[in-house]
Symmetry: C2
């Protein structure tokens, strides 16, 4: 191994270069970056626009100079690799400043070219006020446009995490924002009812949220842009951010004849090796393998890119290290909420035809009697027979990252909901609860598997059969304030034992309370008294999230 | 099962009662509580004294009335069980208000009597200004004493979590505080160098911290109390809190002839059953089994008590459910720091003669370029051969609970440091890093096991042999500000490759930087250039924590 070339100088590329140098002092390492920067914090870009990150410099972690000094890597900015000859083991490089082309040979090559924003074929989309956001120059252009044009209104297309972060950033600047999302929900990794809590937060922050709505055409008008939407509406705006997703940068790989996967990413084995043994690929450009389904997946996130870069370097220098399969753990801050997920969601489980059950809990992020506690709304998906955890989603103001991180590791370990029951987590009032959110989720799911409880979901309560009655076990004050469902009988749980005779023995009783906890008490009481019943999992709170229409 | 009696109405007892009722409507349940309250938040008591929890009512989660209404449990306050006759299956109960005694029979009995504050045999300790803190009346007495006497100075004896929370509470009230701790450190679950970070925080908050110092005698004087310390010093104070630990409440069990373990707790099997098949015991009163050593342990914490109460009820009503072994996960807030741990610490590993390695990292709690990031100082203990994680400790301002929770689950799953490398945790700038603290800890530990790095600890740098030289690879500015170690040569890591000739090839080079990261780069560079070297794990930051003297 005399010469290692790396294409792309950010998350995966810079990580591979740094690790390669730590493994070997002798090898010549050249890192090609067609842009102006290496090692920058893509993930921080929206937060500099919004102002959370005050200093632009903070976004650039390394420069060619610092990288040379520390890692003796020859970093070539504005140098785009335009072709790979895998037989000759050379790349052709174009110096974008001089226009010159030259050839470099390699013993090993790492591709970390990232992903490019998807630009949909929308008439008129390319305007001086239309932007996508991938790198520092993109960010600078957006900031300049805001400065120059002082837009009062901006439109973001796409409710993925970059779109949402841009919505927040623009609102922080006091700009009115419309968010267009073609699908029924933002944040595709979570299911609709969980996304609905995010929709509420978005709307509460004055954003004009338009779901099921696509951008059809863009026209430049005097005051800015006129947008035609796919529902016939039109909209005037002064700044347009396109954030409908990214697609792997595979042109080089395709041209070089490297294998491409079904999802359009560069195909690699678990050693990060492409179809050519001297070429490795990492990061947003590749396809990974899903931990649970074993199917291919695109996971354009920074953690995987960084860790894959390290593994590629390890394997180039003689290790035989596998990248673990992916579970797609992700999180996004949306104003004061966090929304996060790991593993499978319900949509994917259904599509895959896998058996699953789901429960919801909303316990407090830490002891409820200690200030600053907020509900953690958690959806847990698990195998209905053995309780193996398949996926989880959480939304809330506090402690969301913690619960999803723990569940990510639990899924990785193949744990079941019964393991959740026994988890021994940190508890003091400022940090958790004697029974943590995850213990509670384990209890609820375990009860279901053990047949101790039968549950129902919101749809069943919406349209009860003639054989069913609804029972709301909350207090009248809560009903008055929050409303109830259909023609529910109201008997507060703490009076239920004395009022059992008000309930029909020949009907199935669909119980609900605010979050499910009192419903569980009521269910057990009724079941032990010989009633047929079900408890609404997640209670009225989940019901409202399911039924919310945005 | 007709009649279930429960002794103790708080964490373990109330949990057992509530769960028992959910499992069975018919059984008669009587819960005896000798105190005035059931279901209260012991853990919140210090925070009400300090003012964080404003409302006293918030501390009482259930009353006998609410418990009757919801769970049909006959709660008897001020009723102390004074004897158990296990052959007759009866208990003798004393009504503390009327003085009457009576007998109740049982089919099953659950003991959850908790633990009592240890009162050391110190002459004069019992004074009207001396308090321990276990329940609401204790708290009320402390608050009343503060109100009545307006102490300017208070003394807390014992640096466990209750002592530390009381120190913080008293400081929040503006009272000068002396903390006496007989051992060299507060927070016994962590090792000394980690505790030293807490010591610094305590001192920084104006507390007169006296380690290695015991209370020898107490004398009432006009202005309050005069304390004689075991080092000959004396001290005037106006309020004395004794918090030197708790011991299982076993008098009833002992008198009844139930088996008691070697550590003084009630002996139970993993079904929570005592030596008598009709009697179960849970909570602070019992001995558990350590997950890693298999030895007995006392874990007087609320999470275990709550979960054991549920399991005892399950088993009484026909389940066959084992309580998992314990790993002693714990956390405490100390002013703006959190200190937490799970699994084995170094002291216990050494005592047990178990092989282990340890590394330290100090990465940021979330992306360092995003505001509000603080270092997470993590100590990881693991098997030096297979990398199995044995224990972890963390100190910092943010994200401590999250990392220890994840590690608690990783230990539970039998994971290794290589699993940490691959953990796929939530990352967006406000919540984590592309390479999380735990990934970094995994890299560092994995490098050690793979022989990619050799490390050293602070002691070795303190007294290098003639065959060793110290190399500080930080920048001169850092040295000027923070100091260095001994006669270290200073070559910043980014100049090292060009200045290798300044280093002796015939000596072992002990490298250090601020946290270990640059030291790792320097180590690899030197090793690859044929030098013999070691890197100080945790860097100067850990060194300072090790060497700090309080
Ligand atoms: C606004 C934004 C916010 C994000 N937020 C998060 C987040 O919160 N959490 C998270 O996990 N992830 C986030 N990401 C995603 C994360 O940044 C990427 O997953 C990660 O950077 C991918 O690393 P990579 O090395 O594959 O590609 P990149 O980091 O994109 O680097 C690829 C580099 O290769 C260069 N390049 C491409 N082709 C060539 C060529 N032929 N020759 C030379 N150079 C070339 C490109 O110019 C680019 O600089 C965010 C991304 C963006 C844009
Ligand atoms: C100030 C303080 C702070 C704490 N902070 C934390 C924390 O942050 N995190 C954490 O995990 N844990 C904490 N704990 C510990 C936690 O409260 C206990 O582990 C837990 O309450 C133990 O539950 P238990 O049911 O075993 O005992 P307890 O909750 O103590 O309940 C036992 C009850 O039994 C009654 N009783 C005893 N004997 C008899 C009898 N013979 N007849 C009738 N009644 C009897 C007692 O009066 C008592 O009310 C704290 C404790 C205190 C005191
Ligand atoms: C208040 C107290 C009696 C509660 O007992 P509990 O009813 O068993 O516990 P919780 O209120 O946490 O509820 C847990 C139950 O609700 C269920 N539950 C929780 N959230 C639910 C939801 N969203 N949907 C359905 N069920 C839910 C759980 O499954 C569990 O029921 P199960 O045991 O039948 O499976 C007891 O915890 C107590 O006394 N606590 C205060 C004392 C204390 O712990 N002190 C020390 C710490 S400060
Ligand atoms: C900056 C960058 C080049 C760093 O690469 P790197 O040196 O491999 O990574 P880090 O600085 O995180 O350091 C990790 C190394 O330090 C070691 N390390 C970390 N803390 C340590 C400590 N306390 N003691 C010893 N070693 C330590 C790790 O073991 C690892 O070394 P190894 O790979 O040899 O095992 C690369 O991460 C990058 O370009 N990042 C910015 C781009 C990006 O990720 N963008 C998307 C997210 S916003």
């Amino acid at each position: 191994m005399k010469k290692l070339l790396i294409i792309g100088g950010v998350a995966g590329g810079a990580s591979a270069a740094a690790r390669a140098r730590r493994l070997n002092e002798e090898v010549e390492i050249i890192m090609f970056e067609r842009g102006e920067y290496i090692s920058f914090a893509n993930c921080g870009l929206p937060y500099h626009i919004g102002g959370d990150i005050a200093s632009r410099d903070a976004l650039v972690l390394q420069t060619p100079q610092s990288f040379k000094a520390r890692f003796n890597v020859d970093v070539r900015l504005f140098n785009e690799v335009v072709a790979i000859d895998k037989d000759a083991k050379t790349v052709t490089v174009k110096n974008l400043q001089s226009g010159e082309q030259y050839v470099e040979s390699y013993d090993a090559l790492v591709l970390s070219p990232g992903a490019a924003p998807v630009t949909p074929p929308i008439p008129g989309l390319q305007t001086p006020r239309t932007f996508s956001l991938r790198n520092l120059p993109d960010m600078d252009r957006i900031i300049a446009s805001i400065k120059d044009n002082q837009p009062k209104h901006a439109t973001v297309v796409g409710g993925g995490f970059i779109g949402l972060e841009m919505v927040e950033a623009l609102r922080e600047l006091g700009i009115a924002v419309t968010l267009l999302e073609l699908s029924p929900q933002v944040m595709a990794p979570v299911d609709l009812e969980m996304a609905n809590m995010v929709h509420q937060e978005i709307v509460d922050h004055g954003v004009d949220l338009r779901l099921n709505t696509g951008l059809a055409a863009v026209e430049q008008v005097e005051a800015g842009l006129q947008l035609s939407l796919n529902n016939g509406d039109s909209l005037n705006t002064e700044l347009l951010i396109s954030a409908i997703g990214v697609k792997p940068e595979t042109k080089l790989a395709v041209d070089a004849g490297l294998a491409i996967g079904a999802l359009g990413g560069i195909a690699v084995d678990d050693r990060m090796r492409t179809s050519d043994p001297a070429i490795y690929a990492v990061g947003d450009a590749i396809e990974e393998v899903d931990l649970i389904t074993g199917e291919k997946a695109l996971i354009p996130l920074a953690g995987p890119a960084n860790r894959q870069g390290r593994i590629a370097a390890n394997n180039i220098f003689g290790a035989d290290e596998a990248y673990s399969k992916t579970q797609g753990t992700a999180i996004c801050r949306v104003f004061s909420l966090a929304v996060a997920s790991t593993g499978m969601n319900e949509k994917r489980l259904s599509r895959a035809g896998m058996a699953f059950e789901k429960i919801y809990v909303h316990p407090a992020s830490h002891a409820s009697y200690f200030p600053g506690a907020h509900p953690v709304s958690l959806k847990l998906l698990f195998n209905p027979v053995d309780g193996k955890i398949l996926g989880a989603q959480a939304v809330g103001r506090d402690g969301i990252d913690k619960r999803i991180d723990v569940l990510a590791v639990a899924i990785r370990a193949g744990m079941t909901v019964f393991d959740l029951q026994q988890m021994e987590l940190t508890y003091a009032p400022p940090f958790g609860s004697a029974k943590d959110v995850l213990n509670q989720a384990g209890f609820v799911a375990g009860n279901l598997i053990n047949g101790e409880i039968r549950i129902c979901h919101s749809d069943e309560l919406e349209a009860p059969s003639a054989d069913q009655v609804l029972l709301d076990v909350r207090n009248p004050g809560e009903l008055a304030k929050l409303g109830t469902i259909g023609e529910a009988i109201n008997i507060p749980v703490d009076q239920l034992r004395d009022r059992l005779d008000e309930l029909p023995k020949d009907k199935e009783i669909l119980i609900f309370c605010q979050v499910g906890l009192r419903g569980n008490v009521a269910y057990r009481m009724l079941a032990n008294h010989g009633f047929r019943a079900k408890n609404l999992t997640g209670g009225f709170k989940t019901y409202q999230a399911v039924k919310a229409a945005f």
